[in-house]
């Protein structure tokens, strides 16, 4: 497929007008594996495009998914800013593998730093092209033509976009000479505007995957193993085969039913007879020892100077071990999919952060080419890193194929807790040395299993060894909002607090003595000032703690006040200062920071997956506590807006601050140092 042919195809498919193609940067294209790929409707060099129809309608095509981080809104703002058109005139078509360009997935807080600039360029190029058409039509110089509020005009002339694109067959690519509006001059971006389709959510009109229906649709249920890794040793479906309208599928260890209504599907599932055989497996009681004995060779992430030398210079030395539990994402919309076969072509609607990845999974598992699979992602009931995989999509596809009808599979909460994946548990060992003047001289940090995100930190320490030790995991694990940055910040910032205490230095002062990075220092000072660190009188039974951090281009600092009554810590107040470059939508950024703080409270104080011998012991919301209204402290956010710096994504990093700040506050309140998340006295 040549580029030229593709360009003409675009306009044929889109029905004329003007299209602006975003070509991914060569380096980016290589990095994200944008090689030619048989399943793609469009070449992978194209990362997004913007179409101005002959009716003037502006549609932006991107493979990104909306899971509550509100990128549908922030990307629309980015386009509106450069196109000089109202937000309400722009529609985003997202995450449909047949209609949108290839995208690796919506994760790693990459939308704002990578997709937003591309769409801004496309919008700026579209504006330039519209100016060009108008100038030619009105026989005036381009410099005399302006665009504002979706209108193109000059003295004596005015036209809507549609009047200019009508009858056109224009394909533009983005030139390198484009200049974008600097953040200091933003008019639409940089402002708080409401979620663009908020009305659909408050009226219940928006359809998530479980809300979709297709004609003749069946409801699917899957027979789950009695333990992880269990094999289906015997299977009897004779009772089910007599049930009218019920389809049974068995392929290896996969056994499932589909029926015309949910109650019949449940009855059919209950009537399936399966015997499972499983191997003995470890329990949560022995987990941390298990990681140490099942560790693979260390991967060094930082070696500098000599630990031996640094320890020899130290007046005080500390050596402590920290740990974090497995926790579940608990997206309120569980995994769900609706699959429909039309002849050889499979269409699946599903809530995932990786539509193209799920397409690959489906094609591989069903042994069909990717071009015969279409994955569509309705705006989804959250992900938090937990929806990278396509389990429900494949289950629905298998059932739909056997039944010859569309099939919907919606996981129960118990299935979501048990058969999705978890945030990795882990053990972190830290040894450190410091001089009495508060200079850290040695820092040795070993993370077992939890991961290497944000493993390095921003402190200036001459002698360091930092290593990640992958290990065998008894439970299925995967990405979670912020990845291991939460665990690594918890251990590092708890340990820094312990060092400060051992040296008798104020924790804020101790951190500042060992920091040079100006952005890191700025958020730390901003949080401390807002909180009134060291200036307020702390009530009896209360304590204050702080933490700082850096990950994915964002800097933060968190102060927390905790009260302890009857042996239970309660978070009273949290101040978090956050800096992610130029702020795109202050209210939505504040919403992300507040929400991440609330979610962080769960991991800090009570969330923990219990397990034994291949089974989850608390797979229900009545057994696994997540933060509720009464758990929420007074939250204050300080947004440090750096209009001179590119915008970084902010969906993840704000979550790393609260746990260590709270652990440090509990220590001040009780004298007890808690080194294991969740923190329980």
């Amino acid at each position: 497929m040549t580029a030229e042919l593709t360009r003409r195809d675009f306009l044929t498919a889109l029905g004329g007008g003007m299209v602006v193609l975003c070509l991914a940067e060569a380096a980016d294209a290589q990095e994200s594996g944008r090689r030619a790929h048989s399943g793609d409707a469009h070449p992978r060099e194209i990362s997004a495009w913007l179409h101005v129809g002959e009716d003037g309608a502006v549609t932006v095509y991107t493979g990104k998914t909306e899971v509550g981080q509100n990128i549908r809104t922030s990307l629309t703002q980015a386009v509106a800013e450069e196109l000089h058109a109202p937000v309400s005139s722009i529609r985003l078509l997202m995450a449909d593998t047949d209609l949108t360009p290839y995208d690796m997935g919506t994760f790693g807080s990459r939308t704002t730093p990578s997709m937003a600039p591309e769409l801004r360029k496309a919008a700026a190029a579209a504006r330039q092209a519209l100016i060009g058409i108008a100038a030619a039509k009105w026989k005036v110089d381009k410099s005399a033509v302006q665009v504002s509020e979706g209108k193109v005009f000059c003295a004596g002339h005015s036209a809507g976009f549609g009047e200019l694109t009508r009858g056109q067959q224009l394909v533009e690519t983005i030139g390198s000479e484009l200049t974008l509006t600097p953040a200091a001059e933003w008019k639409v971006a940089g402002r708080s505007i409401p979620k663009v389709n908020a009305r659909d959510f408050v009226t219940g009109k928006h359809r998530y995957t479980p809300d979709l229906k297709r004609p003749d649709m069946l409801y699917g249920k899957v027979l789950r193993p009695t333990a992880f890794g269990a094999k289906l040793a015997s299977f009897d479906d004779s009772a089910v085969r007599q049930m009218p309208g019920v389809t049974v599928v068995r392929e290896g260890d996969f056994a499932a039913v589909a029926a015309p209504d949910a109650a019949s599907a449940e009855r059919a599932l209950a009537a399936l007879q399966g015997q499972w055989k499983a191997e003995p497996q470890p329990s949560d009681r022995e987990l941390f020892a298990y990681f140490k004995t099942n560790a693979e060779p260390a991967e060094d992430r930082q070696t500098r100077g000599s630990i031996e030398h640094g320890m020899a210079e130290a007046d005080r030395k500390l050596s402590e071990t920290y740990s974090v539990a497995y926790i579940a994402h608990v997206p309120l919309e569980p995994r769900a999919a609706l699959a429909e076969w039309n002849g050889e072509k499979l269409t699946v609607w599903t809530g995932t952060q990786r539509p193209f990845g799920v397409r690959s999974e489906l094609a591989a598992a069903l042994n069909i080419p990717e071009e015969r699979v279409r994955v569509i992602v309705p705006d989804t009931g959250s992900g938090y890193g937990g929806k990278h995989s396509g389990e429900a999509a494949l289950e629905a596809a298998r059932l739909a194929k056997a039944a010859g009808k569309p099939v919907q599979v919606v996981w129960t909460r118990e299935e979501e807790f048990t058969w999705a994946y978890l945030r990795p548990a882990g053990v972190i060992e830290i040894s450190s040395g410091a001089r009495n003047d508060g200079t850290i001289t040695a820092w040795e940090f070993h993370n077992y299993n939890s991961g290497s995100s944000a493993i390095q930190g921003t402190y200036e320490i001459p002698n360091q060894r930092i290593a990640f030790h992958p290990a065998k995991t008894p439970l299925r694990q995967g990405s979670y909002r912020g990845l291991a940055a939460t665990a690594n910040h918890f251990a590092r910032e708890s340990h820094i607090d312990e060092m400060a205490h051992a040296l008798g230095i104020d924790p804020l002062e101790f951190r500042l003595r060992n920091l040079k990075n100006e952005r890191q220092r700025a958020v730390l000072v901003a949080a401390a000032e807002k909180f009134g660190w060291g200036k307020q009188k702390v009530a009896q039974g209360h304590g204050c703690g702080l933490s700082l951090g850096f990950e994915k281009g964002s800097y933060l600092a968190t102060c927390a006040e905790v009260s302890v009554e009857g042996g239970r810590p309660k978070i009273v107040r949290v101040v978090e200062a956050f800096e992610c470059g130029a702020v795109v939508n202050p209210d939505h950024l504040r919403n992300q920071v507040e929400g991440a703080i609330v979610m962080a409270i769960g991991g800090a104080l009570f969330e923990q997956i219990r397990f034994d011998n291949g089974r989850i012991l608390n797979p229900k919301l009545s057994q696994y506590r997540v933060p509720r209204f009464a758990d929420v402290p007074m939250i204050e956010t300080v947004l440090v807006n750096r209009k001179d710096l590119p915008s970084a994504g902010a969906g993840e990093t704000p979550i790393v601050g609260p746990a260590p700040a709270v652990a440090n506050a509990i220590f001040r309140a009780t004298g007890k140092r808690l080194r294991s998340m969740p923190l329980t006295l």
Partner: protein
């Protein structure tokens, strides 16, 4: 195997002011009848045990967890779902307040939150923040927008739309 298909079926429900014909076994959950039979999908499945509140609807004005409410208990009562709050294109003040305060991220909990809030305001027209927290404690927002939801309920209770936060 328990199977109540021989018991009298529920044939009529009063939903959002309209009498709807249904044919449902009495033990089925109200949630499944609303979603699967009447295509009213605003109420969500979240946990199936009445713990998260995503399935909340009103029965004679009172918030119930429709996932653990047998449809037989709803027969003869006025059922209001999120789809029934809007009147002639006018949103309920609490729906307006959710938009105004930006009290959502993914929005999956939003219909249940709003129905719990409407029920709370029906019992207590001017709740304090502590009463809002207490009244909404059974609803989970995993995205953590609780402070904004409290602000939305407060705004609706005062009947005043505050100005949007300055940017």
């Amino acid at each position: 195997m328990p199977d109540n298909r021989d018991m009298p079926r529920i044939t009529e429900l009063d939903v959002n002011g309209i009498s709807r014909r249904v044919k449902a076994s009495p033990e089925r959950s109200l949630l499944s009848v609303l979603r699967d039979d009447l295509d009213l999908t605003g109420a969500k499945y979240g946990c199936g045990e009445g713990q998260c509140g995503a399935c909340t609807v009103l029965l004679d004005g009172e918030a119930v967890r429709s996932c653990i409410t047998p449809v037989s208990q709803a027969a003869g009562k006025r059922i209001i779902t999120i789809e029934g709050l809007e009147r002639e294109g006018q949103l309920h003040p609490l729906q307006e307040a959710f938009i105004e305060t930006g009290a959502m991220q993914c929005g999956y909990c939003t219909p249940g939150m709003i129905m719990s809030g409407v029920s709370l305001l029906g019992r207590n027209a001017r709740p304090s923040d502590a009463e809002i927290v207490h009244g909404m404690q059974g609803n989970i927002c995993r995205c953590g927008t609780y402070p904004r939801i409290v602000a939305a309920v407060r705004m609706a209770s005062l009947g005043t739309k505050s100005t949007r936060r300055p940017s």
